[in-house]
């Protein structure tokens, strides 16, 4: 299987800022690839290089078998893009923008356009200046999803959507994958990437720090548990998949790999649970825990 996107050793500097510092990224054809990193990590910069909007200082980037800077127009027939910050023309309606972008890309499926408008609950007759951030994002999403393209490049597409619409978006992306399209989905929300992606690349400060399938990155998908028990627990530290255990009398705090969550909870219940809170670790925590040292070391 060929790669839809292949980026190697990419460097891009703006003045003194090194936005990309040897970034690596491989997206295989037909997969949904999560592009994960905190704000300012270089996700949008990478995407702009892939779209031929920025010229890389060093490194190579191949998009659908072509050079994103040289073969721009040819490549852009085959992809659709949703920017992170969508701005619309104030005097054009959402429907007009969807049609315009679709036509400029080389065609739009009218049936799909209608279905998507309904699913995203978007009023296409409103003028661009009156849409909220979420609705502007929906306009760009409908325009992209209704086009007949091989590759979707989505830059934090859900940052303005409410949870209901996020669900609609997830369903749409699942369908796209079934239709064999490739998706590059940038995000700073771990849960979103977990729910949608086959493989993930994690970047920080312009570098790729980890890449692989979700199973390979299983160590990222832990849950943090804080519990107050009836008695001081015993034998917790012997359980597999348990990390960073702190026992403070009847109070315990630890992280657990999600696949071992059931065993650990059974053990806790045995001690009598008075209160329990669980939360997925934030991306920032993960970075702090897993990558800070590597970065300092390198």
């Amino acid at each position: 299987m060929t790669d839809a996107i292949s980026v190697s050793g990419l460097v891009k500097t703006f003045g003194r800022t090194r936005a990309l510092d040897g970034l690596e990224l491989t997206v295989r054809t037909g997969e949904v690839h999560g592009f994960l990193g905190p704000n300012g990590a270089g996700k949008s910069t990478t995407i702009r290089v892939l779209l031929g909007l920025l010229r890389a200082d060093a490194g190579t980037a191949t998009l659908l078998g072509g050079d994103p800077w040289r073969d721009t127009a040819d490549l852009h027939r085959r992809l659709a893009y949703v920017p992170g910050e969508v701005t619309l023309w104030p005097s054009l309606t959402g429907g007009e923008v969807i049609d315009l972008l679709g036509r400029l890309r080389g065609g739009l499926d009218a049936g799909r356009r209608a279905t998507l408008l309904e699913r995203f609950d978007l009023d296409p007759t409103k003028k661009g200046r009156t849409y909220s951030k979420g609705n502007r994002q929906k306009v760009a999403l409908v325009a992209a999803l209704a086009s007949d393209v091989e590759l979707l490049i989505l830059d934090e597409p859900t940052s303005g959507l409410d949870p209901l619409m996020e669900e609609v978006f997830r369903t749409c992306i699942a369908e796209e994958r079934k239709n064999g399209r490739t998706v590059l989905l940038s995000s700073h929300i771990l849960a979103e990437v977990e729910a949608l992606c086959d493989r993930v690349s994690i970047i920080r400060a312009g570098r790729t720090v980890d890449t692989g399938t979700l199973a390979e990155l299983r160590h990222l998908t832990r849950t943090s548990i804080t519990a107050e028990l009836a008695a001081t627990p015993t034998g917790l530290d012997a359980l597999p998949g348990l990390h960073d255990l702190v026992v403070d009398g009847p109070r315990v705090r630890f992280d657990v790999d999600n696949e071992h969550l059931g065993d650990v909870l059974r053990q806790l219940t045995g001690c009598g649970v008075r209160s329990l809170t669980s939360q997925p670790p934030t991306l920032e925590e993960l970075f702090l825990r897993h990558y800070e040292e590597e970065l300092v070391g390198s």
Binding site: L101, L104, T125, K127
Partner: protein, 527 residues
């Protein structure tokens, strides 16, 4: 907490945000009358000189543009010349300031952030009105002081300053109502701006015919305060009363609506794009057509008014020698009428260049707003996109000049019964300005492509051209400074001989600049 809690802090914030913008406006408004008075003092040193211009200034077209000339004196002439400009400037400053600190803040959601703090319901509107009102007051006071300094009578100077100030107050209040009507700042500016334009038209028609029409217009009131010509102070009260009334209305309306909402609902547009909206050019047409149509109307009206005024300047009228000389320098002809027409179309050329620059800089505006990125992510090429906007700068400017020239030729020709002869003559006088306007477009493209952050400098270049045209002729600046302006090379038609060399040179410079800009734009980063 009262409805006004926090007004002081918000006013200070407004002044902080406008610390550059407002002083520039205020200074421009304060200095213009003084500069005019100084210029007239030099131009008409004696009473006889002044009397000689009366016949010219009482032609209907000039009365429509500037209002009636109430008294022939240095002050009277200064007030006549500058009042309309002053009123439009102070009106714009006031309405833009009020909209900026009310509806713009509300639309962007920044007001929500502020409203959550200890801020009364009416504090934002009050702060905006206080900000605009203080700026009006300072502008009026400074204008009066500067006029006094040139040696004009105190009473008249005070009246002129007062007229400027109260007109500003009236338009601040008009804007305060406009922002209650619509959810969108641009529409609010359009509403208040339309009232300003309407007031100007009412006054223009009223002063040439049915006088009562001028009394329906705030701009008419200001002019009928009659600075330097037997002041009628009570007229200022009309503007103050209107401002108070409209401000009260604005507060009532604001009290009845939610934050972010408006009295006029947004009209929905088409759900599907028309067949024409399928290319970069189709999009550019949608974005430029309104502006171009407005300009076309304006230039046709201006051309007709200026052409119509020319018939009064027949060579037989004994006109002040200095004026004749000045027209000869600006217009390039010893004949007074042709000199006047040449000078007028030189100014028309510069005014049209404002559109040229505006249309050219749309490139940068689209890029900065982030609207270029999604287009370039389609198969649209960079150069094709840029050209789709530049068509309007290049062809649009030609259309505007043609409109001004043809309308001027018709109006002038109709009065001297020579339409067939004057239309092509004045069309030529207007169109010959085109290559100079194109040079500014070329400069805009070059900056956009090579040093995008510096694109706004194109406006500076345009202002420099204007200054060189006005002052170069008056101050006898050295030749090479004046020659820096592309407009200095334009043959001064209709009086002078047409010469193709400068026209071709200017066109070539414009093309080279634009080509360099486009090459740079192809190679640079977007964003």
């Amino acid at each position: 907490m009262s409805a006004l809690t926090g007004t002081r802090h918000l006013t200070r914030l407004a002044f902080r945000l406008d610390r550059l913008r407002l002083p520039v406006w205020v200074l421009a408004i304060a200095l213009l009358p003084m500069a005019t008075a100084a210029q007239y003092k030099q131009l008409y040193p004696t009473k006889a000189d002044l009397d000689s211009v009366r016949a010219v200034l009482s032609t209907p077209a000039l009365v429509a543009i500037g209002g009636p000339l109430f008294r022939v004196s240095l002050g009277g002439l200064t007030a006549w010349k500058i009042m309309s400009t002053e009123l439009i400037l102070i009106g714009l400053m006031s309405l833009l300031t009020v909209v900026r600190h009310t509806r713009t803040e509300e639309e962007t959601g920044r007001l929500e952030l502020i409203s959550a703090g200890v801020v009364g319901r009416h504090a934002p509107l009050t702060a905006a009105l206080v900000t605009a009102g203080l700026a009006d007051l300072v502008a009026g006071a400074l204008a009066a002081l500067f006029l006094l300094a040139t040696g004009l009578p105190a009473t008249g100077s005070l009246a002129l300053g007062l007229a400027v100030c109260v007109t500003g107050l009236a338009f601040a209040a008009i804007a305060a109502v406009a922002v209650q009507l619509t959810e969108n700042a641009r529409t609010a500016i359009a509403i208040a701006g339309a009232v300003l334009a309407g007031s100007y038209l009412l006054r223009a028609v009223g002063d040439t015919g049915p006088t009562w029409l001028s009394w329906l217009s705030p701009l008419g009131w200001a002019i009928h305060i009659r600075a330097y010509a037997g002041e009628r102070w009570w007229v200022a009260g009309l503007a103050v009363a209107l401002a108070a009334l409209l401000a009260a209305l604005a507060y009532t309306l604001a009290g009845r609506r939610d934050v972010g909402a408006a009295l006029l609902a947004q009209r929905p547009g088409p759900a599907m794009a028309a067949a024409g909206l399928r290319s970069p050019f189709g999009l550019a047409w949608r974005l430029h057509r309104g502006l171009l149509a407005g300009w076309l109307f304006g230039m046709a009206v201006a051309g007709a008014a200026l052409g119509g005024a020319a018939s009064a300047l027949t060579d037989q009228i004994a006109v002040n020698q200095e004026l004749t000389d000045m027209l000869a320098r600006l217009g390039g002809s010893k004949g007074v009428t042709d000199g006047y027409l040449g000078a007028v179309f030189g100014i028309v050329g510069l005014v049209v260049a404002c559109y040229t620059v505006q249309a050219t800089l749309r490139l940068r505006a689209e890029e900065s707003a982030g609207r270029l990125e999604p287009l370039l992510a389609t198969r649209t090429g960079r150069v094709r996109w840029a050209l789709s906007h530049l068509v309007f700068a290049v062809v649009g400017s030609a259309l505007l000049l043609a409109a001004a020239g043809a309308a001027g030729g018709l109006a002038y020709g109709a009065q001297i019964s020579d339409v067939g002869g004057q239309v092509p003559r004045l069309l030529g006088a207007a169109m010959v300005q085109l290559p100079a306007a194109w040079v500014l477009a070329g400069l805009g493209v070059a900056l956009f492509g090579l040093v995008p952050q510096a694109t706004p400098l194109t406006w500076v270049a345009l202002v420099a051209c204007l200054v060189l045209l006005e002052l170069g002729a008056l101050l006898n600046l050295s030749r090479w400074i004046v020659d820096a302006s592309p407009f200095a090379h334009v043959p001064k038609l209709p009086g002078a001989e047409f010469s193709a060399t400068p026209v071709l040179w200017l066109t070539a410079v414009a093309v080279v600049l634009a080509a360099a800009g486009l090459v740079g734009f192809r190679r640079r980063d977007i964003g």
